[in-house]
Amino acid sequence: MKALKFTGALGAMLVSTGAWAEYKLNMTPGVTEFSHIAYGLHMRILWICVVIGVLVFGAMIYSMIAHRKSKGVEPARFSHSTTAEIIWTIIPILILLFMAYPATKGLIAMEAPHDKPDLIVKVTGFQWRWRYDYLNEDVGFISSLDQESNRVRQLKSGENPGQVKDYLLNVDHPLVLPVGKQVKFLLTADDVIHSWWVPALGWKRDAIPGFVNEAWTKIEKPGIYRGQCAELCGRDHGFMPIVIKAVTPEEFEAWVAEQKKSAMAGQEIQPIADQS
């Protein structure tokens, strides 16, 4: 009965999911040097694990088929072999070294001192919004979950999230960043710990009250990149998305100029016009 009900619900969902965003199986390669490092390491370790898994599980499955009592085999009596044990201590160590070398290189690349930043953005997390301040530009604004997602996500709203574009991953004011420029983030928080994560950038970094954390990025191509708060921060933790709009340096300059103008005119800041 229960199974039937689930199958029914599953079928109904699958039919209605036609318009839904496509699911993904794997980590995004992203659009920064750091995201390529993370993705490359991820794939390397994954394949090493797959190979080890095939060998170990293969040996187990072979043994389970060949060495069963029902086949009338006599159990062997051996209980140790120093040679075997040395081999399967040494080989994993070698494999680990093979993993540790690129991991160390990647980590050093990500944490090494960078060139002078072209742009510094201060990111402040608070329950449950992000504030962005472009430190040398006198531009700053608060970025919150978009109105439509916010309406639909209320408990028992009765509305179908499938009809909201980028449900829960859309904001009123995206963070606008120039591509090809070295951007430095300073991350902190006002109340509890948050974590700022856009998968396409390749990292997440905690925003901690009383601390200023540092992180860097250089986005390779224009586009919209979405992410979410990744550290449990209270009731609406699931509803503080991050959207980056990466644009060309010229478009970025134009956007900054406009922000300053509207700030002087006392107007609310406007997100950059959609180019695509």
């Binding site: 993370a38 370790i45 069963r68 140790h80 990500m110 609406d236």
Partner: protein, 535 residues
């Protein structure tokens, strides 16, 4: 020492329900209490998991408020870790360790009673916070400040409950160490002990080392919340990250507290049903000890994203990777134990093999998580959720179930229904993989953990995962039925319930009489569980 406690008689159980269970000092009865308690908590914590999976069944908020959802994830974890998995292993230890080493009882029987009877009160208190103003803790089982300090005054009850659990665990650990080191029968040298006894000895030392650290951490939370201190409050000069260091200095060894006894159980079962000695007994012991040591120097891999210096990240990455070496030794030894044996696949063996395969999958994702630059992506996503459920559910819980099926004939005197046991195994194994495997994909695709609602690209796998979750939950109700049926009756079990079983526990009748080994047994070579190391 225990002569007073046992003054009422030697071969018959105490009269009356209260005398038998409330005032008991008998290791078998206390073991039963622990196991029944653990099963109860497993069902309660499982019910909370069902709430979580039901809310995550579809995008949109259908069932519970996000604040209550956070209480569910927090309580689910606290109950499963402290109420289900740990007491289950203490229950197995109580039942089996004295019988495995030829001791008449635990070394400190009255303390044994106390360490059990603290638990129902502690968990009643913890669960009662659900009904209090402000609700249960909702900051995750890690109780990170400042978030956790935003909760209501009910938080004091939760902290007191954690203190009680710590006291109970430490007393249990002292008892196990005292028993193993003092009450072994003559001839039962340390290196003759079954591996389950060894892994528990190591686990007990871990417990004594880290439970006080947790107690200290949560006490600082208590004074920060109620007495105006600023240990973790940046505005008062404190450091919220320091709590994470304290918590994970406890938290990482805690992970091994939950898995080392599982290694022990599986190391007893695989040789029995392979009809072949355990491969590499000595290296198993050393590997367990190495894992325990390493567990103290890897804690910050839970915190790669807090902004550590490069040197710290490198150290914790390397130290974490090194754990793969002793863990690998164990897995290879288990495979070599099966190799060229004469295997049969009764339910305990199925669960043990399931453990080896699926724990290894959890180990692989653990190795991936150790790689700091990749962890910047994995951290706090469903990939982590998938990882620790593979090691905790298909790892620790599967090992507990393997142990229950393995020793149930010894406890009850009845064989369980083999057909039902096999159904339970296959049902659980299929369901648990439907439940947790897609969560790897969700995490890699970018779904953070601890969120009550999600964007549409995560819909398919969440629904599959929830279906697996409901099926797995149902399978455990079936498990309760199988155990109940076995307690009530069944084919009588022989003293040596399994053809290939070795060790002292199989030399006493089934069911084991209320008192065993009142005089120490004479250890003959064929009574030693893993005789391979005799030279």
């Amino acid at each position: 020492m225990s002569s007073v406690a046992h003054a009422e008689g030697h071969d018959h159980k105490p009269e009356g329900f209260l005398n038998r269970w409330l005032f008991t000092t008998n290791h078998k009865d206390i073991g039963t209490l622990y196991l029944v308690f653990s099963l109860t908590m497993f069902i309660i914590g499982g019910a909370m998991a069902m709430v979580i999976r039901a809310e995550l069944f579809m995008p949109g908020m259908q069932l519970v408020d996000p604040a209550f959802f956070n209480q569910m994830t927090t309580m689910h974890a606290l109950i499963m870790v402290f109420g289900a998995v740990m007491p289950a292993f203490v229950g197995l230890a109580n039942w089996m360790i004295p019988m495995m080493i030829g001791a008449p009882d635990m070394a400190l029987p009255r303390m044994n009673n106390w360490s059990f009877w603290i638990l129902p009160f502690a968990f009643t208190m913890l669960l009662s916070t659900l009904f209090m103003d402000g609700g249960a803790p909702a900051a995750g089982w890690t109780l990170y400040p400042p978030l956790v300090l935003q909760g209501g005054n009910s938080f004091a009850f939760a902290i007191f409950a954690v203190h009680l659990l710590g006291i109970s665990s430490i007393m249990g650990a002292i008892n196990i160490i005292a028993t193993i080191l003092n009450l072994r029968a003559p001839g039962m040298n340390l290196l003759n002990m079954p591996l389950f006894v060894w892994t528990w000895l190591i686990t007990a030392f871990l417990l004594i080392a880290v439970m006080p650290v947790l107690a200290g951490g949560v006490t600082m939370l208590l004074t920060d919340k109620f007495f105006g201190t600023s240990f973790f409050n940046a505005a008062g000069g404190g450091d919220p990250v320091m709590y994470q260091h304290i918590f994970w200095f406890f938290g990482h060894p805690e992970v091994y507290i939950m898995i080392l006894p599982a290694f022990g159980v599986v190391s007893e079962i695989l040789p029995t049903f392979s009809r072949k000695p355990l491969f590499g007994y000595t290296s198993m012991v050393y590997a367990s000890a190495s894992i325990a040591f390493l567990s103290f120097i890897v804690w910050s891999h839970h915190m790669f994203t807090v902004g550590m210096p490069l040197g710290g990240e490198l150290f914790f990455m390397y130290a974490t990777m090194v754990i793969a070496v002793p863990t690998g030794v164990k897995i290879f030894n288990w495979v070599a134990t099966m190799w060229k044996g004469a295997m049969t696949f009764e339910t305990p063996m199925l669960f043990a093999i399931g453990f080896v395969i699926m724990f290894t999958i959890g180990g692989f994702s653990g190795l991936m998580l150790a790689i700091a630059p990749a962890d910047f992506q994995y951290h706090d996503t469903y990939f982590v959720v998938a990882h620790f459920h593979y090691v905790l559910v298909t790892g620790a819980v599967f090992a507990i179930m393997a142990g229950v099926y393995y020793w149930l004939p010894k406890w009850t005197g009845h064989m369980y229904d083999e057909r039902l046991g096999k159904i339970h195994f296959w049902w659980s194994t299929i369901a648990v993989n439907v439940l947790f495997f897609p969560q790897h994909f969700l995490g890699l695709a970018g779904m953070p953990r601890r969120i009550p609602d999600y964007s549409l690209q995560f819909a398919e796998f969440n629904m599959i995962s929830s279906i697996g979750g409901f099926a797995f939950g149902l399978a455990q109700i079936f498990f309760v039925y199988i155990v109940w049926k076995t307690v009530k009756g069944g084919q009588p079990a022989e003293a040596r319930a399994w053809e290939g079983a070795k060790g002292l526990e199989w030399t006493v009748p089934s069911p084991a009489p209320h008192h065993t080994f009142e005089t120490p047994p004479e250890i003959k070579p064929d009574m030693i569980a893993h005789p391979s190391n005799a030279h």
